[in-house]
Symmetry: D2
Subunit: 371 residues, 4 copies
C-alpha cells in the first residue's frame, strides 16, 4: 500500500478532508463492460450515511456521488458500463458547518490524530478531523460498491457482533435482521438491548467500542498470493486501515490460540458438487494465505470514539500543558457505521485478488487433478 | 505487498521451499554505510532455529546465512558496511531428510496449505510443506536483523504471553526472563507451567496455539503514511503474513471494544524532555496510523500446529475422500518460534516507514511549533 | 507504474476522458508546508492550453483547475500550504461540443488508439479520443507544477528543437525566445520558418512530427535508484507515456552510438565550489542511472497528429473494411503542446527521485570523502 | 519500478556485484505448470556470455545458473515445471581475478558510475564496476528466458543494426545470419565490415557505440495499460535501464518526427484470418500504449564503453584533480552483448503485460464486436 492507495490490479486512491470542498476517489484497473451507475454506488453510501438515527453523528451529508469518468453508455443497449479506464468519483462536502475551532485548533484531543499529524507534517487541517476524519470512509464504500460487481456470485455482508462488553447471541443470527435496526445487528434481542445501552452512553457524553464481523460468500478457491500477498494479510491491512480499528482476526482468530490441533482442524469431505466440503470453518475460509472456497470470515475491533464531552489532560501544539474537551456532533459508537466500511474493504481486497489470480493462473481451475 | 515481497523503500523479497536446495532473500533499499556482518544476522537466526529444545521441531538446520552482495569492507577501517545496493542472503537447506512422502503427496492435511496450493496452482512441492513451510520465516528473521540497524535507538523485543488458554501474569513481566526459558516467556512462573503443559500436549501427539506480543521501543513519532499506508495497517499485514497467524491487534486491541471513550483516552502531559508524556498506552503507540513516540505494541494469535498424530477426515487431489495423519518432526506449539519472526516483521515495517517518512518530510521534526 | 499512476513517493494518479464531465488528478506523497495555490498550477496549465494560436487545436477550454484537498491556510501567515495529504485536482470539461460522432464511432482511425482500446476492452468512449485524448496531459502539467516546488533550486525548461525534418540551429539557442513564439522554439529564425512551414502543413489538412528537448538544471547529484529505478529509466518511461511519443534519448542519445569512448567521455575537473566540473555533457547529467549534478537533458520525438483531413483505409469494429477521415479541431503539430507536458513529466520524475534518495540516504551528501 | 525490481505481475528482482561471491535473481509471479529447466535458461545465458570472440571482454565466466526454488518435478511425467512460487536463480562468480585496483579505487573514470555511486552512497564496491557492472545483465537474460515461455507463440529476437556511424543495409536483413557472426548482425556484409572496423577500434584501445533492434512477434493485441502503464512506456524504461543505453525508440521512432500524418498512418485492411492487417508498421506494434498485434519493434542506442586505454582528466574521491586510465579486460563495443539483454527485457515486459491484461480483462478477446 502506498500512502493513499490500496490494491494492485484493482487499485483505489482516495483524497479529501472532512471540511474541504470535496472528497473523491479513483478506482483504477476495474474490468471493462461491467454495468455501473451512480445509483449502484449510492445504495451502499446511503447505508453508511450519518444522521439516520440518533445513534450516529447528526452531521447531515447527502453524500451524493458523481461518476466523473471510466463509464460509457452503450448506445444499442442503453446500459452504462465500465470502460476499463480509471473511474473518478466525487462527493461534494455540503454540510461544512462554520464554527469556532478555537479549542481544538491548537490543543490535541487524546485518541485523535491531532498530535500525530502535527508531529509528522507540522501542519494539519483541524476542521472536523481533516484527512483523519471518518468522512474519508465514504469513498471506501463507494469503491467497494464497484468491487462487489467484479467477482461473479460474491456476496459480502457485515454485522455488529459486540458493543462494549456485550456480545450478541450467535444462535439468533439472522441476516434479515441486520437491515431492520440502526446497529447492523443480526440479533434482534441484542439490538433492542443496544438501543437502551447506547442511549445511556450517549447521554453521559461518553462513547463505546464495538466488534464487527464481515462474511464474504461466493469467494472462489485459490485467491491469495503467498507469502506476503496472502489474502488474510491484505484483509488485515485493509481492515486495520479503517479509522479507530485496533484489531483484526480471521476465522477463529484469537480464540485459535486456545485450541488444540484436533479442535482447530477443519476436516474435509466431498460435497454433492464434487468440491471439498469443510466440516467446520475455524480457518475463516483462508489457509496458507489462499481462499478455500468456504466463506471468508473476518472480524475487527473498533475503539470508542475519542470525541467525548468530558475534559481530558492534554498538551498543545506549542509544547504547553492544557485540558481539552470535544464539542459538536459525534457518533457515540463509531463501530456502527464501520459495518458498511468493513464490507467495502473486504470486497475490494477480494476483487483485487480475483484479478491477480486470473492474471497469474488464468481462468480455469486445475482441481481436481486427473489421475 | 506483491506476492513474495513486502515494504516500499526497505523492501524484502524471499524465495525458497522447505526441501529445495536453498532459501534466500533480497533486501533492497537499505541505507548505505551501515556496519553489517553475517554474525549480526546469525545471532537472530540462532534464536529462531529449530531443534534447540524438546518443544520445537527436531529438524536440525544450522541455518548458516551467507551475505552474497550489498556489503563492502572499507579498507581503512576494516569495517564491512552496506553499500546501498541489494543485499542477497542465502541459506542452504542441509537437513532435507529423504523420506517417503506417500501419505501427504496426494492427501490434503486439514489446516495445511495442501489443498489451497493445489486448487490455486495445480502443482505443489509437498516436501515439508514446500513454500508454505515455516522454514521461509528464517529469511524474515534475517531481513529483520538488518532492519533493526536502520532506525537509531530502535529496540524490538517479543514475548509469548499466552499458550493455549493460559495467559501469563503481566505483573511478573521480566524481559530478562525471556532469554532464560525455551518459550520466550517473560513470566518465570508461567514458563515453568508451560513446560509441563506443553509436554502433555506433545506426548498426546496434539498441538496448541499461542499469543505473542511485540514491543518496539525507540520508535520516533511521526512514522506512518495515512490513510492506507498507516503504520498499524502495515504491521497488521506483516504479522498476519506469518504462517499460522489468525489475529493481530495493536495496543488495547480487541479489549478496546469494551472500553468507554474516557477509559480508552491516553491523556497527555509534558515530560522533562519537553516531549509529550502519555499517561497510558491503549493506542499501542499509534494514533491515526502514525506513531506517537510511545512504545509500539502489537499482539498476534498463532493457531495450533496443523500437523498432529491423529487421523483426520480429508480428501485427495483426485477428488476422492480419505483420511490423513501427519507423521514426522513438528512443533507442538509453533507460536514459540514465531516470537523472533514477529520481532523481525515489526522491525522491517518500522524501518520501511522510517525511510518513507524521511523521504516525504525530511530529517527534522516540526514539533513543537513556534508560536 | 501501475495503470494510471506513476511515481513512488511523489505519486500521480489521473482520471478522466476528453468529453466526460471532468478530468482530475491525485498527487500523493507531496511534502508538507510547501506554499501552493491554484494560481501556481494555472500558470503552467495556461502554457499548455489549446486555442492560443492558429497552430494548435481550436478547442476552447479555460482549463480552470480547482484544488480540492491537501492544502490548508496557515492563519498566522495567511499562506496556503500543502499538508502532506493527497492533493486532489479537478478541471471541468466545458467545451464538450455536441457533434455527430457517426464516422469514428465504429471506424478505426489509423494511428489513433481506436482499434487498440476496442480490442483490449471491447468498449470505448470514442468522443474526442476518450481516455486516449491529449486532454489527459493537462493533469500531468498540473502535477508537474507541484513537483517543481519540491526540489530546491530546480528549474525545468523545454523547447521544440525540430519540426518535421527541420532542426533548429543550436548556436542561436535563447531561452528567452521560447516564450515569444507559439512553438516554444529557442531559435528565433527557426520559429519564423516554422510559422510558414506549419501553415502549409495545416492548410493541406496534413500534420507533422517534432522533437522536444527538456533541460533540468539544479538537479542535485546522487538522484536515481539503480539498477531498475535508474533516473534515466524513469525519465524514459515518463516521456514515452506522453501521447504520440515514439522515442526518448538522454544526453547524446542516439548520436552516442556513433561516438568513440574518447569522444563520449565527459572529463572532470574541480570547480571553484570544490564540486566536480564536467568538461562536456554527453551523459545528459546521468551516469549509471544516477544524476551527476550537471543539467539533466532529455529529448523525445513526437509523431505527426494522426487526425488528418485525408481519407485512409481502415476497418470497423464489426470486422468490415472501410475508409475513414477525421474532421474537427486538431493540432497540425501536437509536438508543440507537448513541450510543457514534457517539462512536467521530467519535474515529477526528479521530485520523486529527490524524495526517494532522501528516504534511503538522508539529507547530507557524503562527498567528498574524508581521507 | 522499485530500486532493483521491475515488472508487476511478472516481477524480477536482481542482486549481486561483479566481483562478489555471486549474482542472483528472484522471478516472482510466474504462472504455474510451465516446463522449466536450467538448460532452458543456460541456452540464453550462453548467447550473452563474454569471452566467446575477440570482440568481447576476455573475462571467462562459465555463468552456470542454478535454479534454487519455484520448480518441481511431476513424478508421473518426469517434467520439471514451475509451481507459481518465486524462482530463485544463482550464478557464482568464479573469475574474480585478484588484481590491484589501486588506480580506480579512488579515481573516477569518466563515463563510469564511479563518481555517481560515491556521491550518492558514500561507499562503493569498485572491483569490476561493482553493482554497475554489465555482469548484472546476466540475470536479466536468465529472467527473460523464463518470460519467453509465458506468452504462447511469442518470439523475441534482436539484432545489431548500427556500429559507430555505420548502419546495416536493411534490405539484406536475414535472421539466420544473426547467429553466424559474433555481432548478432543480420546483414552478412555489414558483419564482415564490422569485424575489421572493430579490430581497428580495439587495437587503438578505443571503443564504439551501437544501435540494437528488438523485434517481438506473436504479441497478442490488447497488451498495455494506458496511460502510465503503456506497453511502450514500460519497454522504454526496461531498455533504458540496461547499462550504457542512452536512447530508446519504438517503430519509426525519431524518424517519425520528420513524417507527415499521411506518411505515418498505418492503414488497415482485413487479413484472411479476419483480423486487421496493417499495411505498414510505423507504430512499431503499439498505438495508444496498447499492442496492435503487429510485431513490436524497439531500438536502443548503446554508448561506447567508457573503459578505454587512454588517459582522461578526472577527480578523485577526496576532492582532488587527477588523471585516470582503465586497464583490464573490456568490450570494445558493449552494444554487441546488449543484444540478448535487450531481447530479455522486451520478453519480460511483454510477459508482465500479458498477465496484467489477463488479470483485468480475462482470457477472451472482445473483438470484433457483434453488430
Amino acid at each position: 500500500m502506498s500512502h493513499n492507495s490500496f490494491g494492485h490490479l484493482f487499485r483505489v486512491t482516495t483524497f479529501g478532508e472532512s471540511h474541504g470542498p470535496a472528497i473523491g476517489c479513483v478506482v483504477d484497473g476495474c474490468p471493462p463492460r461491467i454495468p455501473l451507475t451512480e445509483a449502484d454506488i449510492q445504495r451502499d453510501l446511503d447505508r453508511r450515511r450519518p444522521g439516520q438515527s440518533r445513534y450516529t453523528t447528526q452531521r447531515q451529508e447527502p453524500d451524493q456521488v458523481r461518476i466523473l469518468s471510466g463509464v460509457f453508455t452503450d448506445e444499442k443497449t442503453g446500459v452504462q458500463m465500465t470502460t476499463g479506464t480509471p473511474i473518478g468519483l466525487l462527493i461534494e462536502n455540503v454540510d461544512q458547518r462554520s464554527k469556532d475551532y478555537g479549542d481544538i485548533k491548537n490543543k490535541y484531543r487524546p485518541g485523535h490524530a491531532d498530535y500525530t499529524y502535527d508531529v509528522k507534517y507540522g501542519i494539519r487541517d483541524y476542521r472536523g478531523g481533516g484527512r483523519a476524519s471518518a468522512r474519508e470512509t465514504a469513498m471506501r464504500v463507494a469503491a467497494g460498491a464497484i468491487a462487489r460487481k467484479i467477482v461473479p456470485g460474491l456476496v459480502v455482508r457485515g454485522a455488529l457482533v459486540q458493543m462494549g462488553p456485550h456480545k450478541i447471541d450467535r444462535s439468533r443470527w439472522d441476516w434479515e435482521e441486520v437491515g431492520r435496526n440502526p446497529f447492523f445487528c443480526p440479533d434482534a434481542e441484542a439490538a433492542a438491548f443496544f438501543a437502551d445501552y447506547l442511549d445511556g452512553i450517549r447521554k453521559k457524553g461518553s462513547s463505546i467500542g464495538a466488534v464487527i464481523e464481515i462474511v464474504a460468500e461466493g469467494v472462489p478457491p485459490g485467491l491469495g498470493a503467498p507469502v506476503y500477498g496472502k489474502l488474510d494479510s491484505d484483509l488485515a491491512a485493509a481492515l486495520m486501515s479503517i479509522n479507530a480499528v485496533k484489531g483484526v482476526e480471521i476465522g477463529a482468530g484469537f480464540e485459535a490460540a486456545a485450541l488444540t490441533g484436533e479442535e482447530n482442524a477443519d476436516e474435509m469431505r466431498l460435497g454433492n458438487d464434487g468440491k471439498p466440503l469443510f466440516l467446520s470453518n475455524h480457518a475463516g475460509g483462508i489457509v496458507g494465505g489462499i481462499s478455500t472456497g468456504q466463506a471468508v470470515i473476518a472480524r475487527f475491533a473498533v475503539k470508542p470514539t475519542s470525541s467525548i464531552l468530558q475534559p481530558r489532560l492534554s498538551v498543545d501544539r506549542f509544547g504547553g500543558e492544557t485540558e481539552v474537551m470535544t464539542r459538536g456532533r459525534h457518533d457515540p459508537c463509531v463501530g456502527i457505521r464501520a459495518v458498511p466500511v468493513g464490507e467495502a474493504m473486504v470486497a475490494c481486497v477480494i476483487a483485487d485478488h480475483y484479478l491477480r489470480h486470473r492474471g497469474q493462473v488464468g481462468e480455469t481451475t486445475p482441481w481436481p487433478m486427473q489421475d
